[in-house]
Each structure stands twice: as structure tokens, then as C-alpha cells.
């Protein structure tokens, strides 16, 4: 039974959860990806393995944390180890199926920027940088980008490629010696994939109560638009309940 009452955040979390298959290994940061992963694990993917880059596997938090550095999100983990173990012996080893990535801005090839806005060799504002994002973008079998749907975030060109998507399209990513690549971009208005040849972003569905015009008007580049454009599957009542009552009761991630 689909929910009537849900927020854009909840829809995005559910869409993220649907990208995860049972038995897979997912590398996540904090926020929406955590909600998506925990949701998947409590529903269709009980054997999902969830990794935090700093050395945490499959925690079962009962309080919401402010970030990866918050011991709240490490609670009841099955493994507590290290970057070398998680990002080296799992990710770089080639075992991570899915990585979730967010950022300041992305371009039509899924290149992500979390480092700076402006001119890298001149005036710029510096933000967070990579953390494990570049590593995940380079070595995960596939990545899912989650980003707010705004023209300043869906850009023709990003100021700085922190985490490579398909670089300049075509086979430029493979030529750089990288694995995988982004398969999905989830925003609060739509879901995108990538054209298998050109690697240009392609609309896959638009969310309920949104129009194609609204989607396109809030992007700085023009995505491929298929003839038949489905509406994104909404969250179920149970999914919304799990998010609100069990996974993010304090609405800290939803913020």
C-alpha cells in the first residue's frame, strides 16, 4: 500500500533503498544514504552489508548521529576496524557493490564536486573535500548520486571534479582506469540514469506531483528525455513508518 503522506526526503530515501539488492555490500556516508541503506536492510535486503569508511560494519544505531564521527552511528557494529580495512580491503579490493555519493554539484556525466566553488586556480570557496567519496567513485561497482534538484547543483560543468563520474563521457572513464561509475541520480524531483554510449544523464522517472517542465527548468544542462516517462514509484506506508518511527525518529537526517 503506497503512502499518501510523505516528504521529498522520504521519497528519495525509498528510491535509494530500491537501488540495493539483498546480499550486496554498500559504502555509505551519513544522512540520506544511511536512511536508504537501513531501510533496505529492514525490508527487502536483510543480508545487505553496510560499511562506514572509518571502519564500521553493520551497526544498529538506536540514536541518530551528527556524522560518521558520532559514536551513536557505530552502535552494535559487527566490525570496528580501519580505513585500510574498509576502503582498502573491501572497496579497493573490488567488493563494494554500491556507493552512495552526494555533493555540491554534479554535471551531466555524473562528475561530482565536494571540494570548492569558483576557480581552483583563482578565487574560490573551499568546502569539505573528498573523504572517502573519491575512493568510492573510483572503485565501487556502481554509484548512486543523491543531490537536491537545483540549477546551481545540476551544472553544465562543475568547478572541480572531486569524485569522477564518466569524466568527459564515452569511454573516458574506462580509459582513466576506473571501475564502475554512476548508475543513478536521485533528486527531489526526478530519477536519472546515464545513456550507455554517451554517458549523458537521462531522465528515468519524475516524482509524483512534479512536471517535466519543473524538472528541466531547475537544471543547468538538458538531460536526455525518453518518449515514455514514468512516474517514480512512491514510498509504501510501511517504508514511511520505518523511516519516521525507527530509522530517523529525531528527523535529524531528514533535515
Amino acid at each position: 500500500m503506497y503512502a499518501e503522506d510523505y516528504t521529498p526526503f522520504e521519497l528519495m530515501a525509498v528510491a535509494g533503498a530500491r537501488e540495493l539488492k539483498d546480499g550486496e555490500i554498500v559504502a555509505v556516508g551519513i544522512g540520506l544514504p544511511v536512511v536508504a541503506s537501513f531501510l533496505a536492510k529492514r525490508t527487502h535486503a536483510p543480508r545487505l552489508t553496510i560499511l562506514f569508511e572509518l571502519g564500521v560494519v553493520d551497526p544498529e544505531p538506536i540514536h541518530t548521529g551528527v556524522g560518521l564521527a558520532d559514536p551513536r552511528v557505530w552502535y552494535r557494529a559487527t566490525v570496528m576496524s580501519s580505513f585500510v580495512d574498509m576502503l582498502g580491503m573491501v572497496l579497493h579490493r573490488g567488493l563494494v557493490d554500491v556507493g552512495f555519493l552526494g555533493g555540491l554539484e554534479t554535471d551531466a556525466y555524473g562528475n561530482l564536486n565536494t571540494t570548492l566553488l569558483g576557480d581552483p586556480w583563482g578565487q574560490f570557496t573551499h568546502f569539505v573535500g573528498s573523504g572517502g567519496a573519491n575512493d568510492i567513485a573510483s572503485s565501487a561497482k556502481r554509484t548512486v548520486i543523491i543531490i537536491r534538484h537545483e540549477a546551481r547543483k545540476l551544472k553544465e560543468a562543475v568547478s572541480f571534479i572531486t569524485s569522477p563520474g564518466y569524466l568527459r563521457g564515452g569511454d573516458t572513464r574506462e580509459a582513466a582506469g576506473l571501475r564502475g561509475g554512476p548508475v543513478r541520480v536521485i533528486t527531489d524531483k526526478a530519477i536519472f540514469g546515464f545513456d550507455p554510449q554517451t554517458r549523458w544523464m537521462r531522465l528515468e522517472s519524475i516524482h509524483p506531483h512534479t512536471t517535466l517542465e519543473d524538472v528541466l527548468a531547475n537544471m543547468s544542462f538538458h538531460p536526455l528525455v525518453p518518449d515514455h516517462l514514468p512516474v517514480t514509484e512512491p514510498p509504501t506506508v510501511e517504508q514511511v513508518r520505518l523511516i519516521r518511527e525507527e530509522i530517523d525518529p529525531e528527523r535529524l537526517y531528514a533535515g
Binding site: I30, F52, E53, L54, G55, V56, H63, G65, V66, G67, L68, A69, D70, P71, R72, W74, Y75, A77, M80, S81, S82, F83, V84, L87, G88, L91, H92, T114, T115, P120, Q123, F124, T125, H126, F127, V128, G129, S130, G131, G132, A133, N134, D135, S138, S139, F160, I161, T162, S163, P164, L167, T172, R173, A176, G177, L178, R179, L252
Partner: protein, 299 residues
């Protein structure tokens, strides 16, 4: 003779310009008391490194202690960005060698293992690499896989002069345990020429010998052991105390401007003689008691 030292003595052992690896991650197990003492002693020209930059790094950078920072990005988690670090990068007063988490971890690992270099898949195709090739070309190279002929990016080992590591448990020889995830700390320690251990709890070696599988820092690497409770405040130490959200919020707000940060520095670093006065200033035992970790939850 022994390794037990005051924080001041440990800091005095670090010469200006040294490369210091820091054990913090964002807002947990950061070398805060250490950073405050470094600033009070007026140490200058440091290179600092860590996989993910934290509050200790931001404090040191803001106070002008740091010449170069080798890191993989960083923040105060939801509390905000590393405003001092960012301002330093934007204004050019800080030389930032910026990587990803794994590439810094691999550089430490190569240093720890005595490898001449380490190949990595990360960074390729990114502007992180473009920037490094211009700012630190001596640390990134290209190597050919002798088995497949493929070209790989190679990173130079990172060998800090000293690793300063905030731990939960150590003995007088510096044998130390870390509870919770260890992020880059083991490789940092083993890459470094020597280690300063700052511990919440000092235990007899007898205790270490009862559970030697836990020993992440071996005593033979350690030059100084500083027993200093609450030395990571306002950041957290898993199983010992939680982060001080109120204080970190105050810090994040203060660091939005240079002036705000100067006021913070004056109040929390320069107006006190040492760590004990600092603990009184922030509210003493009454306040600290409110941060003590629950033994089951660990926070």
C-alpha cells in the same frame, strides 16, 4: 628516564617545522588539549597530516601553527566546516595537499611497511590529482605494473616525524589500546618515526598483557606517554565521553570570522595556563560529568 610526561614536556619535544600526524577524525578523538598546548607554546611551521581533517587541525591552522596540511578532506560533521582550514586554503596562507581518505591511508601504509611507493586506483581522472601534480608533484608518480603493463598512479610513503594519538588506554611504556573504529591511527603510528600517546586512562602493563590482541600502538614506537583525562574535549572519546555539542556549536559559530576565532582562542587557549584550568573554565567536573559515556552505548 621513563616515558611518562606532562603535556607541556611532550609538546616541547616537537621542533618547529616538524611533521605531526594527528589521530582525530572530524569531532572524535581529536588532539584538542595537545593543540591548545602547542598554540600556547608558540610552535610554528608544522606540517600536519590525517586522513580526515578534524577539529584539532582546524584549531592549529587557525592559530597560525601550520604551514602545510596533508589530508583527505574534513569537517565538523553536522556542526559545520573546517572554517579555519578553508580560510587558509582560500587565502593561500595554508599549503593544503588534499587527497582522498584512502590515498592518505595508503601513504601512511606504505610508510609503515617500508615500501618505496604504493599503487592506487583512486584520484585518477579527478581534479584532486591535477591539483596535486601541480602543488606536490614529488608525491605522485606513475608506475608500470610489471605483470600486465598497465600504468598505475603511485603515491610516495608518508613518514611523519611524530604521531600524536589520543587513546583510551595505555601503560607507562606506551603500549596502547584504541576502542571503536581506528580509522588511520594504526598506519599513522607505524609510519611515524616516533609516537606521543595521550591517554584517558593509565594502566599497569599487567593489564595490557591480559589482552595483547588489542595493542594497536606498541611501546617501542612511543617516546612520551601523557596521562590526561578529557584531553579530547570538546570532541568525543568512544566509551569514555561524548562530544560537547554546545561547545562545538560555539566553535563553529566563532570560526565563521577571523575575529570570532581570535576571541575563541583568547578565551579557551590563552586565558588558561594548562589543561586543568581549561577544564575548570568549561564548567569543571559538573559539566564533564554530563558528558560521561554510558558503559553500554559507548557515548
Amino acid at each position: 628516564m621513563g616515558k611518562l610526561a606532562t603535556l607541556a614536556e611532550a609538546v616541547e619535544s616537537i621542533p618547529p617545522g616538524a611533521h605531526v600526524a594527528l589521530s582525530g577524525f572530524a569531532i572524535t578523538r581529536c588532539n584538542m588539549a595537545f593543540a591548545r598546548e602547542v598554540i600556547r607554546q608558540g610552535l610554528r611551521g608544522l606540517t600536519i597530516s590525517q586522513c580526515v581533517g578534524g577539529m584539532d587541525a582546524d584549531l592549529l591552522v587557525g592559530a597560525g601553527v601550520v604551514k602545510r596540511m596533508i589530508y583527505g578532506g574534513g569537517s565538523l560533521d553536522r556542526f559545520g566546516r573546517l572554517n579555519n582550514v578553508n580560510r587558509g586554503i582560500e587565502s593561500g596562507t595554508l599549503i593544503a595537499e588534499e587527497y582522498s581518505s584512502l590515498s592518505v591511508a595508503f601513504r601512511y601504509l606504505a610508510g609503515a611497511l617500508g615500501l618505496p611507493f604504493i599503487p592506487i586506483r583512486s584520484l585518477r581522472g579527478s581534479d584532486i590529482l591535477t591539483r596535486l601534480q601541480q602543488m606536490a608533484p614529488e608525491n605522485v608518480g606513475v608506475v608500470q605494473d610489471p605483470f600486465t603493463g598497465e600504468q598505475w598512479l603511485a603515491l610516495r610513503p608518508l613518514v611523519p616525524d611524530v604521531a600524536v594519538v589520543q587513546v583510551q588506554v595505555a601503560d607507562e611504556e606506551g603500549n596502547a589500546w584504541i576502542y571503536g573504529p581506528r580509522w588511520d591511527n594504526e598506519e599513522q603510528v607505524k609510519a611515524s618515526q616516533r609516537v606521543i600517546v595521550i591517554t584517558e586512562q593509565l594502566v599497569p602493563t599487567e593489564i595490557i598483557r591480559r589482552d595483547p590482541e588489542r595493542t594497536v600502538i606498541p611501546g617501542f614506537k612511543v617516546s612520551h606517554v601523557v596521562h590526561l583525562p578529557f584531553s579530547a574535549h570538546p570532541t568525543s572519546v568512544y566509551r569514555v565521553y561524548d562530544y560537547d555539542a554546545e561547545h562545538i556549536r560555539e566553535y563553529a559559530a566563532a570560526t565563521r570570522t577571523t575575529e570570532g576565532f581570535q576571541t575563541y582562542l583568547e578565551k579557551y587557549v590563552f586565558s588558561v595556563q594548562d589543561h586543568w584550568e581549561y577544564l575548570e573554565l568549561i564548567g569543571g567536573m559538573k559539566h564533564l560529568a554530563s558528558l560521561m559515556a554510558d558503559p553500554i552505548l559507548g557515548y
